[in-house]
Amino acid sequence: MRAAPKQFDILIIGAGPAGLSAAHVAAQSGARVGIVDDNIHPGGQIWRQGPAHPPSGPARALLDALARHPNLTRLCGTRVVQPLPDKRLQVEDAQRAQVLNYGRLILATGARERFLPFPGWTLPGVTGAGGLQALVKGGTPVTDQRIVVAGSGPLLWAAARTAQAQGAHIVAIVEQAAPRSVARFARALAFTPAKLAQAIRLRLDLWRTPYWRGAHVVAAHGDDRLRGVSVQRPGGNIELSCERLACAYGLLPNLELSTALGCASISYADAMAVQVDAWQRTSQTDIYAAGECTGVGGMELSTLEGRIAAHAALGRQDAARRLFAARERYRNFSRRLHAAFALNPCLRALSKDDTVFCRCEDVAYGEIAEHDSWRMAKLHTRCGMGPCQGRICGGAAAFCFGWQSANTRPPLSPTRIGTLAGLADTDAA
């Protein structure tokens, strides 16, 4: 059965730091606030909860504060299927579909990892870096497993620490950025003491783990599962035995919903992000965006943007303006982050002709490379046309070939036919 449409003054998509911060500000105003997230527990990726990972620190404080607001409705385990006319969104959870009406919408859809295909990356046991962290927080056992963490950026350290705390042995952290870039970034952490403290804590926790810079994984080996990896380092190649490889190259904003809503995107660092003005307002009336979907910059920046977006959506420009200076400080951090961990162009050559590039449709790199645009490659090879709809190979194609992905079409994620059929009934009525 279809539930009656729900009406919200402010509807927020995404329950990570940006979405929860926006919800907190909005709920305090007494407005009818809704927050939608596809995960079972709120927190997003950085505050992801799990059986051995209850919320703590700022996440705990925020969730406790939100629990005191009866005017806040939480829709967990709920995905947005598609935008509908007249400020409505169709969503579905494991049981049912429904339509949500909103006055103002705040997009806090976050980011996903960027994967670059390399030989062996489809072997079971190879995950993303944040992917490993998420799986471990969900209860996946890693005790006594040897894990190589590779790719780029500070997330490698956080992922390594989460796995280590659950009993894994971190064989090495393999960072593609050059040693002097990383060193410059580390020195500049003095401008953001909270980030500096995090970095020092992680380094101390992992002080025995080798940290190779200017290095990257060139291949993963194994038959039915992962047995080891080859790493190219400045001093020469090295083979490592391991049961797991956690490898990803930074984060990419999630733009499917913003694009479907007609919000403009801009180029941000080496990716695309939702375009927002000083008030976190998108190019569409009554739609705001905050957090990693507007450009990857970390938890503190996301939190500030979420609060600014909510104040602005409530028409409280003065309250929003008071947060601009703090936001600018963390935007500067974000710029330093992207400069330091910019991807080495040599990574474009990671894939070999027979390397699976599109995992959903098993399309090899060589088949895709014969074409000169994402669209032509899709039409001729079916790359990007499987269940993930190019969310994984699209980011890789953007980096390897310089192709921008075409717009995602609704439904935005695999959806039950009953959900779509139910919609037809509603519209006909």
Binding site: P51, A94, G125, T127, G130, R225, I392
Partner: protein
């Protein structure tokens, strides 16, 4: 020590800690035989695949839960008595 609940993975009765995801439950059930190599599905050309992104984006962790195909193991919490089917038996693609 966490409490355990029982469910069925590929016809095997297993006890896994409460509160974990289906992806984690499969890992607990397979850890003795497969180590870290959790397998959830077969690709369109038959290769074994396991979870990649851990956050509901990549669709690699699709399994059949209680007869319903294409459920994401990484985003589904376990429940007592749940029946989970993966591609480990080298049977039909999941």
């Amino acid at each position: 020590m966490a409490e355990h609940i029982e469910l069925d993975i590929d016809g095997r009765r297993v006890a896994v800690p409460t509160g974990v995801t289906v992806a984690a439950a499969i890992a607990h059930a397979m850890v003795d035989t497969l180590g870290s190599g959790v397998i959830t599905r077969r690709s369109v050309s038959g290769a074994l695949r396991g979870p990649l992104c851990g956050m509901g984006v990549c669709q690699e962790c699709r399994v059949t839960i209680n007869g319903r195909a294409h459920r994401l193991a990484c985003q589904t919490p376990i429940a007592a008595g749940m029946r989970i089917e993966t591609a480990t038996d080298c049977g039909a693609p999941t």
